[in-house]
């Protein structure tokens, strides 16, 4: 079972969520990043995610292992889309199950923050004005 995955095709969150069902779970927290129609004041038409797949999968798995160590959770999963995405499509999903909600929320937040900061995935945006570019945010 792989806790972190890259997906070339749309993500089915209902199935992912169902994989975390367990009689011991009291709290389930999830986060989804969707493609917005704007970013930094510019109109976005669509975007593409590219990954260094081997390292992204290893680093993503490491983030989830850390979450399991740091927080009193039962399980955690994360899937990140790669390839071309339209406005409104799901880019990333995080799901966390725990006995109590404190740990579920904290771990969910940890995972999305660390994935965004560390996992080698890059976003390429196309703008309404016709130009496009890779996003390489300042740390």
């Amino acid at each position: 079972m792989t806790r972190f995955s890259l997906a070339q095709t749309p993500i089915d969150t209902a199935t992912l969520r169902a994989q975390l069902l367990d009689d011991r779970v009291g709290g389930y927290a999830s986060f989804e990043g969707w493609v917005r129609n704007h970013n930094d004041g510019r109109n976005v038409l669509g975007l593409r995610y590219e990954a260094y797949a081997a390292l992204a999968e290893a680093e993503g798995a490491k983030v989830l292992d850390e979450a399991l160590q740091k927080f009193a959770i039962l399980d955690v999963r994360c899937v990140h889309r790669i390839g071309d995405l339209a406005i409104g499509e799901l880019a990333v999903w995080v799901g966390v199950s725990a006995a109590h909600r404190d740990a579920a929320f904290a771990a969910c937040r940890y995972v999305i923050d660390e994935v965004k900061a560390r996992v080698p995935i890059w976003k390429h945006e196309r703008y309404a004005e016709g130009d496009a570019g890779w996003l390489h945010p300042e740390a």
Partner: protein
């Protein structure tokens, strides 16, 4: 002299015009990036990148090993 395969992603690939290339190199990973930055006109300074060797994050001071696969990791923007 080490022969390595270098992988480029995102803006580095656009600037290099290729996704990977084979390079003959002496010295450490920092020197390799500096040379390739000059060759391809990469905008990003070494301080803004990370570097990976054979699928694992490495240090810029590590020597380049013959036959390895080296990836320069520009600032990520997933999520």
């Amino acid at each position: 002299m080490a022969r390595v395969n270098v992988l480029y992603f995102a803006s580095l690939r656009d600037a290099a015009g290729v996704a990977s290339e084979t390079v003959d190199v002496d010295g450490n990973l920092r020197a390799l990036y500096t040379a390739l930055r000059e060759r391809h006109g990469f905008v990003l300074p070494v301080e803004r990148l990370r570097v990976a060797v054979d699928g694992t994050f490495a240090r810029w001071d590590d020597a380049v090993r013959d036959g390895s696969e080296i990836a320069f990791i520009p600032p990520v923007s997933g999520g």
